[in-house]
């Protein structure tokens, strides 16, 4: 394997000789492994290694980018990126100022690549056995992946940063069927490389097997508007989808109308609502020392006491909007330019209990767990893994999974109770601009939302 440190030194040399407003390079070396079960079979065991890099150039406001995984043509790649930037740019280059950083970030505490395949397989085998002993299933899926990646970043301002990250992602789904009806239930967990954190899920695995079967008999929610209570997992997805994406400045910075809509100080929710993005919390999948532009991660209040107080930036969006850079420019791999992304995004805890939230709901729906979510900025949809009818303040029958949708702005205003039980959700990943899944985490306490639209017949 070519040593990326040697290549970085060569890049540093040749970049210095170029004439452009700004140049950076990122080199990456990664190893990963995947185990995939379908039904009772361990179907996929695969290992991969990848090495590559890119050069990104800013000139007169235009970006040129060249990515590669052969290192014998660095000069050609550099001149291509420079020429591309020259062709794309015809304005002025603006980047928020940051002090150049020369650093080797502390290494992750765990490297899942050091564990044997046998050890990983034996845990997953056990989960699969438990799931199949528990309930009559049609099939099941287990998808496990882990990886360890080292990135070198350098730029024409003199930054030189080495950073490594470790990641584990596990999703387990049970599928039950009867006649032509098919239902599934699943869990999704992730860690920053600590395999021990995905042990001990036996109870959850039993539950999803039972749930998949129970869903076959569950009635469907009648579509329409309801008061809903979201559990911390789904409320976290809601925070990410409904508000998090809206606070990404790349949707805002060149759009006058969006800038008006997202003016700092504007009221988005009740005074109890606080939403934070924080890339510095140890042990969370969205955490990093430096983003992919070499800016240190930090904690940003997006909403404080109901008012818009901050947003997520790259160096360019921060400069153009004349705000502080927030260290949120991230790329999923060397094949992509960094774009504005979330890190760990959550609603801060309030003081309501679940019982207090239930009380006073004549007819509503309690939605737990997540299946997916997406947003168009104005509208969002997300789907819960399981749902229960609420009648007269009491949780009643299990419903088939529901899809919730709504207008982001009115829905945030309609959050009328926030629990005290903040939990972070580490499963899955975020997709944007063709870069998916990026490790992030999101979280929330239980929340209650008035007038939420539920799909159904």
């Amino acid at each position: 394997m070519p040593h990326i440190n040697e290549i970085a030194l060569e890049l540093k040399r040749i970049i210095a000789a170029q004439n452009a407003d700004y140049i950076e390079a990122r080199l990456e070396s990664a190893r990963s492994c995947r185990l995939g079960y379908r039904g009772r079979e361990l179907e996929t065991v695969a290992q991969s290694s990848s090495t590559g890099g890119n050069i990104r150039v800013l000139h007169r406001g235009g970006w040129g980018f060249a990515s590669f995984n052969r290192f014998d043509g660095l000069k050609t790649a550099l001149s291509r990126a420079v020429e591309s930037a020259r062709l794309a740019g015809n304005g002025s280059s603006r980047l928020a100022h940051i002090e150049p950083v020369s650093a080797v970030a502390p290494k992750p505490q765990h490297n899942p690549q050091l564990l044997s395949l046998r050890e990983k397989k034996s845990l997953l085998d056990a989960y699969n056995d438990i799931m199949w002993q528990q309930a009559p299933l049609n099939t099941s899926f287990i998808g496990y992946s882990d990886g360890y990646k080292t990135t070198l970043f350098l730029n024409s301002e003199g930054s030189f940063i080495e950073q490594s990250r470790a990641d584990i992602n596990l999703r387990i789904n049970a599928v039950a069927g009867k006649d032509s009806s098919v239902e599934q239930s699943g869990i999704s967990v992730g860690t920053t490389g600590d395999f021990n954190q995905i042990r001990g899920l036996e109870k959850d695995v039993r539950e999803i097997a039972d749930k998949a079967v129970a869903l076959l008999k569950a009635p469907r929610a009648k579509g329409g508007e309801y008061t809903v209570i979201l559990d911390p997992v789904l409320a976290g997805v809601f925070t990410h989808e409904a508000f998090g994406h809206l606070s990404e400045a790349d949707f805002v910075y060149e759009n006058e109308r969006m800038r008006e809509l997202m003016t700092l100080g504007k009221v988005f929710g009740t005074s109890r609502l606080n939403i934070v993005d924080d890339g510095t919390i140890p042990g969370l999948r969205g955490t990093y020392h430096y983003d992919d532009e070499g800016v240190g991660a930090r904690k940003t209040y997006l909403i404080r006491e109901g008012k818009l107080t901050g947003r997520l930036h790259s160096r360019e969006t921060a400069a153009i909007m004349e705000e502080e850079p927030s260290g949120n420019a991230r790329a999923i791999s060397y094949r992509h330019e960094p774009i504005v992304r979330m890190s760990n995004t959550y609603i801060e805890p309030g003081d309501a209990t679940l019982d207090e939230m239930l009380a006073g709901i004549t007819e509503g729906i309690y939605v737990k767990n997540w299946y997916g979510g997406t947003t168009s900025m104005e509208m969002f949809t997300f789907s819960g893994g399981e749902a229960y009818m609420i009648r007269n303040g009491r949780l009643e029958e299990l419903l088939k999974p529901v899809v919730l949708t709504g207008n982001v702005f009115t829905t945030l205003m309609n959050i009328d109770a926030i629990g005290s039980d903040l939990e972070m959700n580490q499963g899955g990943g975020c997709g944007k601009g063709g870069q998916s899944p990026l490790p992030v985490s999101n979280g929330s306490p239980h929340i209650r939302i008035r007038k939420c639209l539920i799909g159904g017949q």
């Binding site: 394997m1 179907e43 291509r80 591309s84 009806s181 098919v182 579509g223 168009s376 899809v403 949708t405």
Partner: protein
């Protein structure tokens, strides 16, 4: 490739080397301005081996020493699944055309011109619009070599244009967009522009809609993002084998409207998803999935076919460089004879769905979809009266596609791997605020 194969055969009884070398050059406009020009080069080498009767697999970006790749694959083979199939032998391929050298010669300046033309046309139609637009060219070479003597190579070209626009007024946001993919160069952005301008015109005002069931027309984009995922999942030989497909016992039965026929077809010349062979080297073909409403075939890769006691249909796919699994190549929905205008004229009160957000979050395995109508229009007395908002629909492809009102004669390619007309269904459940 030969070197990796030879090295692997020192450890394994069979082996296959799969390699892709590709270069993609996108030119991107952001907020009506040229912003990014990229050149992405990449290569991967994947090695599949059968060692002591088990499958091993490893993939690398190709700059590693082959010894490392072989060692990774050997390590996985200890735990890999039992090899119930043989790697394919040399076979005849249809002469499917996939490469037009003219795509390589398209200049960056020409791509910038096309992007600018799309932005200019949209801004001219509506000065409030902010566009993201782009043109991209992509050249890929795929090679497969295995120890049964199979050797296959294919070069493909892809050129694409995309235009997306947004109009924001207060908290009201409108998103429109279209794209075009071809293996030939595209020198005219007019069709993409026309489709986007039509969306802008139809969404020009807002229409009221209330919660009830009503007839619905899915435009080709609407078909793509609401109906295709549940169908693609149900026809997967793997889902059928596992009992997770609602079609598992329905082969040969009429499940859909007699007017509905859908093929999987990777053999059409110069279509982006076409190739003479799949990612395992098996010859591609035209596979009828639905013929006149009857479930005709499911699609398979080598492994799934071996478990199901049938043969691969040339649908082995390695998305993301993983082990092959069954996936659709390109779905072709047979056009009908009804014009879009005739469908409209037939509807007293109904909905047109152009973009359904979140459709992939429903119970896809069960054939259901549920989503927010991100772009859709109300029909009243045969006329489009405006865009609907805050509207959710819920349906099952098995109910919607059985008892169709009509299939359009307006078939087009959407997204490079689906050819479909508009589809007019008798009723869908609508929930509105």
């Amino acid at each position: 490739m030969e070197h990796v194969l030879k090295l692997a055969l020192k450890h394994a009884e069979s082996a296959e080397v799969f390699s892709v070398v590709d270069e993609e050059i996108p030119v991107e406009f952001e907020a009506n301005k040229l912003k990014h020009i990229q050149a992405k080069q990449s290569s991967i080498v994947a090695l599949r081996i059968i060692k002591d009767g088990r499958i091993g697999y490893a993939v690398s970006t190709g700059s590693d020493e082959p010894e490392g790749l072989v060692a990774m694959a050997v390590e996985t083979a200890e735990f890999g699944m039992e090899a119930k199939y043989e790697l394919p032998y040399p076979q005849d391929y249809l002469p499917v055309q996939t490469f037009d050298p003219a795509v390589e010669r398209i200049s960056l300046e020409e791509m910038v011109r096309l992007g600018q033309a799309m932005v200019d046309a949209a801004v001219k139609a509506n000065p409030e619009i902010l566009c993201d637009a782009g043109a991209s060219k992509h050249i890929a070479s795929i090679g497969i070599l295995n120890s049964n003597g199979l050797e296959a190579h294919c070069r493909s070209s892809l050129f694409s244009l995309g235009l997306g626009g947004s109009i924001i007024r207060g908290t009201d946001m409108l998103f429109v967009g279209d794209s075009h993919y071809s293996s030939h160069p595209v020198d005219d952005a007019a069709p993409v522009i026309r489709n986007v301008l039509r969306q802008l015109e139809w969404a020009g005002s807002q229409a009221k809609i209330s919660s009830k069931t009503m007839p619905v027309i899915f435009t080709p984009h609407g078909v793509e993002n609401a109906l295709i995922a549940p169908l693609a999942s149900a026809f997967s030989g793997k889902m059928v084998l596992e009992g997770a497909s609602p079609l598992k016992n329905r082969l040969g039965q009429r499940v859909f409207d007699p007017a509905l026929s859908i093929d999987d077809d990777a053999t059409l010349d110069y279509q982006p998803a076409s190739s003479p062979f799949d990612d395992e080297g098996v010859a591609t073909r035209t596979t009828a999935l639905i013929r006149d409403g009857v479930v005709e075939n499911f699609y398979y890769d080598l492994y799934t076919a071996s478990l199901a006691g049938t043969s691969s249909t040339g649908n082995g796919n390695r998305s993301g460089g993983g082990l092959p699994g069954p996936a659709v190549n390109a779905l072709v929905v047979k056009p009908g004879t009804t014009s879009f205008e005739e469908m409209l004229a037939d509807i007293k009160e109904g909905l047109i769905i152009e973009h359904l957000m979140g459709a992939d979050q429903g119970n896809i395995l069960g054939g259901e979809f549920s989503g927010n109508v991100l772009l859709g229009y109300k029909i009243e007395n045969g006329k489009i009266t405006g865009r609907v908002k805050n509207t959710m629909v819920h349906g099952s492809v098995y109910e919607l596609l059985n008892g169709l009102a009509a299939i359009g004669n307006d078939a087009r390619w959407v997204g490079g791997s689906l050819y479909t007309p508009s589809i007019y269904c008798r009723s869908i459940a609508v929930a509105a605020e």
